[in-house]
Symmetry: none
């Protein structure tokens, strides 16, 4: 008798090879998308969009081919599946979900859609620059139309909009969001009202005027370094709408936007994208080159950008440490301002028109407006042409402000130009995940505040790597939050955190 | 009876679709290569290279597939071929050539060769750094060996070296090059000797010292704009080795390298790459998205970089117009220098060891040396171990200089480590094409000198677009030069031009 070698299931090799190819093509497309958003010449965009469409189609073809279906079927046979390791099992599960989703969309429809959304982003940029909603709405109508078709082809889960939610936050539903957002609203609206009525508004005059753009850039780079962002595995560029893109753990790029009259925009934008980047740079090496080498959901991804931007970057401990550095970076510019005054000033609460410039508290109201509009578009057949009117009415109602034009209203965000419906809720989900994670972090890292105050941000980064980052897509969002905190996602940690922070800043009884 | 529509050959649709896909994948790979050379993070390079390899393999698979062979065969049937338009015919011809070339190399041999050349580049870098020819020669021997095998598999045209020449300059032969280079040498060597012996050497002291890099960049951008380079269809970046890359006519990017101690390096480098870019930006719209949308040969491409760099950019008329601008760009730096002195200073002739630093005249002698050595390697079985000796002897003979070591001798260029034999002649072919084209241009545009002197470079660009650029690969190099000048390529236009220019600058009788 000889030692019998355990043989790998026959379908595993070809399956893994396809996984690798898919990830490789996604990486190449990622570089091209990054390029299109950071400085690709205007006149090349149309042809580039078609090339992107062609490779995306090939990717789609591989992921939804008969052969892929056969490989999945073989690997899902109980005896075979039982032999698979954890990573291969998750790959099979994820690929099956994607496969079923893809097989229901005719390739021609998919191809048209990719070309359309790729062109629509440029159209949106132009429309926003010229306050020209009609210039963009014909694209948007077609994009919504395609999505309605996709929902029908996929089969609605619960409500049609649930099907879109599941694309970004697996397992999330309209019913669940109604509950979480309902609870949150019932605590945040009174809080915002109390602030407006009785709050002691922090001084913000020192944030007015100009801040040298070169110095802003220098400070952004400095803070990224402090967070543990690896510049040999990434770079910081500029774009109209800041973003992070993880091409591989060795190449995670972020962008920001420097405004001469606004110190905080680039500063907190950079920390925000830096949080996304820390996640992608620190996914476990065993997942490299597979489709599991990515954030597990938009909500968990956003939890990391918001944890770093708001809970760390807009915290008192952080500015006790970094305010002197900031002062040195803008000589003479912040003389006479204390770290405490700066901390209060950057946490001013103010109903505003632009989501990405909103404060940490009212931001959630911006999200709820978009959530409600998207729900209306897909569950109640709201026509695209009515969007400006609906948008403006909701802003008046929830925030008491009215956009002067569509550029600062319905055209402000890029998301819909890419067909990302169901994505916006991720931002507030991220806030809730982040607050719940930080609640645990304070128990697990009892010296966290002191560490931040000493400029030692790496223990937190290391803890998050251990608890969240390294798993990539290996764990589902619900598994991540339960693993970290011992319970499912709750709204109360965010509400508690915001109440504690803002009652203190605004000196409410 | 109904009007009968002329039906397209059945194979034409699928053939064109494959052509489009090939071009699209090449475009995407082009963006990724550009990115790798201009700033991609170091830690992502290894995985990126594998992704590039994956898509390149897919491209190769499409181009050399059985289906491609069948489509070509169908389209080449005389009745079918007769029905094809000019563009489709050229596409069939070009694709057939590429297809046969690919199919004749066994895949295993191709793989071995790719591995060898990628190792050889590192070996060359090391050997050059350590002046260690034996450390590189074993690689070079094998690379030459593979190329000899490829020539046999492809079938030698005329002489074995002709087969390699055809890769870069379709239709060019060793016999033709012997004639052209022989004629050229018989006039340029005496000219260089006369300059060294009797010439009045221009003053170049004002080119010493430092030139502000930001100002260099500003002036480079200014001159590109003057040349008619379209910044909405391109961009200027920095890289260690300057290059131009045409991704599509709407996106032709160039790079340069700014040296604080060398004004002319970035300046003429930019104009050189700008010449390549003008070609690619102005290929006719009817060729867009096909493999014919590219320069027709290395020689014709190089003719455009050299025409703009040397015949325009190192011309007296050009600096009569732009020297005052240059002076303003570097305040105080060029005070007391006249346009005429500047013109003479940037045209100094000096026998040297390093090709890429050579002047416009002796550059051709560097090329002839490499040509003669390559011819000996493939047509006369020159052993690789004899290269240093042959190299040094030829430098002594043609340029009167002797390399102190192999690092500044036979090891100076990267080309052979990548197996690019037959490429070097393109550089001098480019000079000859350019001189012949300019000779015609002066007849067709009788006010050319005055236009350049008035800063109106667009009539020349427009004429070149009409005569050269718009045709892309639709015409062969020989067709281009005959169309422009009414005759085949001649050496005398270059020799006449260089004699006229340098006898005058050096005040020779």
């Amino acid at each position: 008798m000889t030692n019998e070698q355990r043989r790998e299931p026959e379908a595993l090799g070809p399956f893994r090879e396809r996984m690798r190819t898919i990830k490789q093509y996604e990486e190449l497309l990622g570089v091209v998308y990054w390029d299109m958003r950071t400085g690709a010449p205007r006149k090349g965009i149309e042809q580039r969009s078609e090339a992107v469409g062609a490779l995306s189609s090939e990717l789609f073809r591989i992921a939804s081919s008969e052969e892929m279906g056969e490989l999945l079927q073989k690997l899902e046979e109980p005896d075979t599946y039982a032999e698979l390791g954890e990573i291969d099992r998750r790959l099979v599960e994820e690929t099956r979900k994607e496969y079923d989703r893809n097989r229901k969309i005719p390739p021609q429809l998919h191809r048209e859609y990719v070309v359309l959304t790729s062109q629509a982003e440029s159209a949106w940029e132009l429309a926003k620059a010229n306050d020209d909603f009609p210039g963009f709405s014909s694209y948007l109508e077609r994009i919504v139309g395609y999505n309605r078709q996709f929902i029908e082809l996929w089969g609605a889960k619960g409500t049609p909009y649930d099907t879109l939610l599941d694309l970004f936050e697996p397992g999330m539903s309209t019913a669940e969001l109604d509950r979480l957002f309902g609870e949150l609203k019932s605590r945040l609206v009174p809080l915002a009202e109390a602030i407006a009525r009785d709050g002691d508004r922090p001084d913000t005059t020192f944030l007015q005027g100009t801040f040298d753009v070169a110095a802003q850039k220098k400070f952004s780079l400095y803070i990224l370094g402090q967070m543990g962002y690896d510049f040999e595995a990434g770079r910081l560029d500029e774009s109209v709408h800041p973003f992070a893109t993880g091409l591989s753990p060795g190449d995670v790029r972020i962008t920001t936007r420097y405004l001469p009259h606004d110190l905080t925009s680039a500063l907190f934008g950079t920390i925000h994208e830096g949080g996304h980047a820390l996640y992608e740079q620190n996914i476990g090496a065993e997942l490299a080159g597979t489709p599991l080498c990515a954030g597990t959901s938009m909500g968990i991804h956003e939890s990391q950008s918001r944890l770093w931007e708001n809970m760390v970057g807009r915290g008192r401990a952080f500015w006790n440490r970094y305010f002197p550095e900031l002062g040195k970076t803008f000589p003479g510019r912040l003389d006479g301002v204390t770290a405490e005054a700066f901390y209060r000033g950057i946490n001013v609460v103010e109903p505003s028109l632009i989501r990405i410039e909103a404060d940490e508290l009212t931001y959630n109201l911006h999200i709820m407006i978009r959530y409600e509009i998207e729900r209306m578009l897909f569950n109640e057949a709201l026509p695209v042409r009515d969007l400006p009117e609906v948008w403006n009415a909701k802003y008046r109602e929830a925030l008491g402000v009215t956009p002067a034009n569509n550029a600062e209203g319905v055209l402000q965000d890029v998301h819909w130009s890419g067909g990302s419906f169901g994505y916006f809720p991720s931002y507030s989900l991220g806030n809730m995940y982040a607050a719940q994670m930080m609640n645990t972090a304070k128990t697990k890292l009892p010296k966290l505040e002191e560490q931040i105050e000493a400029g030692d941000l790496l223990p937190l980064k290391q803890w998050l790597t251990e608890e969240v980052y390294r798993f990539g897509k290996l764990l589902q969002p619900s598994e991540i939050i339960e693993r970290v905190s011992g319970e499912a996602l709750q709204s109360r940690y965010l509400a508690d955190y915001l109440e504690g922070k803002y009652r203190e800043i605004y000196r409410l009884k």
